[in-house]
């Protein structure tokens, strides 16, 4: 039987998100049609989303298709850089966070030229400090001891 696996996955994701919102809404009061409680709209949206997901799932049958490939390396290093930045910024300040993020992110591409990375990291950290710290005067710790 012909089936488009990418669309199956798409449909299941949409159903799952809808189910999560609908289930979560059951904690809140539904109210009446004239006086709706906080749960009514999210609950309805969750149900609509599940219906749409089911239709997308249905459209997967009768045609060919694969699950698309993901760039795992790029994903891990790019998202890792963002996560590391978020974790370091309040603990060590802007400059170490920017340096760490650049180094981790740079590892995400096979085309990166490793000797250039330290220079890039220094340039980005300096640039961020000048633009956000000096010119815009945004309140942000630049460098702090994590202990």
């Amino acid at each position: 039987m012909r089936i488009d696996r990418g669309e199956v996955l798409s449909g299941l994701i949409v159903i799952a998100i809808g189910a999560w919102f609908a289930y979560g809404a059951s904690d809140y009061r539904m109210g009446t049609l004239a006086r709706m409680g906080p749960g009514f709209v999210p609950y309805s949206l969750g149900l609509i989303s599940m219906g749409l997901g089911a239709l997308i799932l249905l459209s997967a049958f009768g045609r060919e298709g694969r699950v698309p490939s993901f760039d795992w390396r790029g994903m891990i290093f790019v998202l890792g850089a963002v996560g590391l930045f978020a974790w370091l910024l309040p603990r060590t300040g802007l400059i170490p966070a920017a340096v760490a993020a650049v180094v981790v992110a740079a590892a995400g591409s096979p085309l990166t030229h490793p000797p250039a990375v330290p220079f890039l990291a220094a340039a980005v950290a300096a640039g961020a400090w000048v633009v956000f710290g000096l010119i815009l005067g945004i309140q942000m710790p630049l460098l702090r001891s994590p202990f």
């Binding site: 990418g6 798409s10 994701i13 949409v14 919102f21 979560g24 809140y28 049609l33 004239a34 006086r35 709706m36 409680g37 906080p38 709209v41 999210p42 949206l45 989303s49 749409l52 239709l55 997308i56 459209s59 009768g62 045609r63 698309p68 490939s69 993901f70 760039d71 790029g74 994903m75 790019v78 998202l79 850089a81 963002v82 996560g83 930045f85 978020a86 974790w87 910024l89 309040p90 802007l94 966070a97 920017a98 993020a101 650049v102 992110a105 740079a106 995400g108 591409s109 085309l111 990166t112 250039a116 890039l120 990291a121 980005v124 640039g127 961020a128 956000f132 815009l136 309140q139 942000m140």
Partner: protein, 506 residues
């Protein structure tokens, strides 16, 4: 003359030193970011939005608008020189712009684009000036049921247009609406879906959503494409930029038609610049005496989509500013910026804050003039910028995204949200979901919910109110038709899957 008064008020506002300065900064940075491969106007506007914190609302919007059309323009530079469209809008410009560059006529193409953009933009602004007050006047009279209907129609239109599987677009709108319910409910004070995090009680920061969905996911998507490779670009001198006599003449008609087409489609929700550019190109090809020249460097194929694009970029502000209904994700960000600055968008904007509305409209034109004077001498700089390898750019872009998000609410939690939405955005894009509807749904969500609840309260819980009132009845019936078509097309379409990353064909 009321129109004259408005023009004078607007230019008085826009010509202040502060606004001029930020307009210049916006246009300059916008063009720069737009010229970089892989950054469209949407990413450019969301990345630079944090720079406007602390500025007065008009100035902030003047700058963001500069970024918006600057990046739309910069994107065309990358398309012509490298065949790398930053956005689907620019994909059309590649069709004839890149062949022109290969024939050594890059200078002519860039110059013609600049002029065509300026004419298109000017036409769009004239429409903005004349149509907006009429629309706002009509909109003041409508009630919550009509508002609800118009917003739903706008959302559905934005979701189903130009998509192979329109239902996936609708699913993304609903996702955006659901994300919009996160946070404290205005009526009851209940903190919905806060999962115990204090930060989520204020709702999701729309900057974090936009940066994750568009910025971070774009970076991951771009890593695999050939953007790391350098490509040689020929030198572009000023002399080589001037079009020949015949080319001026050949361009006049296409620019005029493109401007009108763009002006109309830009104002309609959901269609926007992308459709306008595709239609402009298709129309010129139909009208041409020798259609076979298209795709091989026909100047008409460059100037018509570019004038349509810029005209549409201006008229897209009409529904955004007068009704508070954004037609595209970029407009949704503009709307978000207004709300962040404490300005309520909607029909009352023109009456309550005329200086904001007319100042903005005037600054659009000044921005277009700046675009013209800035870009003709700076084309050489943009070309050099295009030669920076992507491997050096993307780590810097990521850090900019992180700091930008942090500065909006001084919250590291928001950077974690960027990570989550970046992951979600990448997976969804690989599965060929369109993400712009998520953002539009997210921005409109709270307004839709409020108007829906109000309309139901007025009608004492009777759904028929939406159908009995003529404006909302007609709008919702048309929307239902659109949805029916979307279901049919999704289930019945057996066309070959488009390869991800390939520019959509006209």
């Amino acid at each position: 003359m009321e129109l004259m008064d408005n023009v004078i008020l607007g230019f008085g506002m826009a010509l202040s030193m502060q606004n001029l300065f930020w307009c210049f900064i916006g246009v300059f940075l916008g063009t720069m970011l737009g010229a970089l491969p892989g950054i469209g106007s949407l990413a450019a506007v969301s990345m630079l939005l944090p720079l406007t914190i602390g500025l007065p609302p008009t100035t902030a919007l003047v700058m963001l608008a500069g970024v918006y059309y600057g990046s739309e323009y910069g994107g065309s530079t990358a398309s012509i020189l490298l065949n790398l469209p930053g956005t689907p809008t620019n994909a059309v410009t590649c069709l004839d712009g890149y062949p022109m560059a290969q024939q050594g006529r890059a200078g002519v193409a860039l110059f013609a684009t600049t002029i065509a953009s300026f004419i298109g933009g000017t036409f769009g602004i004239i429409l903005l000036y004349t149509v907006s007050p009429l629309l706002a006047g009509a909109a003041i009279a409508i009630g919550p049921a009509e508002y609800f209907a118009l917003m739903v129609a706008g959302l559905v239109a934005a979701a189903v247009v130009s998509d192979e599987r329109p239902l996936k677009g609708v699913a993304m709108v609903v996702l955006g609406l659901m994300l919009g319910t996160i946070g404290t409910d205005v009526d009851s004070g209940v903190a919905r879906y806060s999962l115990g995090y204090l930060e989520l009680r204020d709702g999701i920061s729309f900057i974090a959503l936009a940066m994750g969905l568009f910025g971070v996911s774009e970076v991951i998507m771009s890593l695999r494409s050939s953007m790391g490779a350098r490509r040689p670009i020929g030198k572009v001198t000023f002399r080589s930029m001037l079009p020949a006599r015949g080319e001026w003449r050949a361009s006049a008609g296409p620019v005029a038609r493109g401007s009108v087409l763009g002006g109309i489609f830009g104002a309609l929700p959901g269609t926007g610049p992308t459709i306008a550019t595709f239609l402009g190109y298709a129309m010129e090809k139909k009208l041409a005496r020798d259609p076979s020249r298209f795709g091989k460097g026909a100047i008409e194929g460059v100037v018509s989509p570019e004038s349509a694009n810029n005209s549409a970029a201006q008229t897209a502000f009409i529904p955004t500013l007068t009704l508070g209904i954004p037609g595209s994700a970029t407009m949704a960000i503009m709307l978000g910026a207004l709300i962040m600055n404490g300005v309520a968008p909607g029909p009352q904007l023109i009456t309550n804050n005329p200086e904001i509305f007319w100042g903005l409209a005037a600054s659009f034109w000044i921005g277009n003039v700046l675009l013209l004077v800035l870009n003709i001498p700076l084309i050489g700089l943009w070309i050099r910028l295009l030669q920076i390898p992507y491997t050096l750019l993307y780590p810097a872009i990521l850090v900019l995204i992180c700091i930008g998000t942090y500065t909006v609410r001084n919250s590291a939690f928001d950077i974690v949200l960027v990570l989550i939405f970046g992951l979600a955005g990448y997976v969804l894009r690989r599965l060929e979901f369109q993400l712009a509807p998520v953002l539009i749904g997210f921005i409109l969500g709270p307004m839709i919910e409020e108007n829906f609840k109000r309309a139901m309260l007025f009608s004492r819980g009777d759904f028929m109110t939406f159908l009995e009132r003529p404006v909302s009845g007609i709008t919702l019936t048309l929307t239902a038709g659109l949805l029916g078509w979307a279901v049919f097309k999704t289930l019945a379409g057996r066309r070959k899957r488009a390869r991800p990353g390939a520019p959509p064909g006209p």
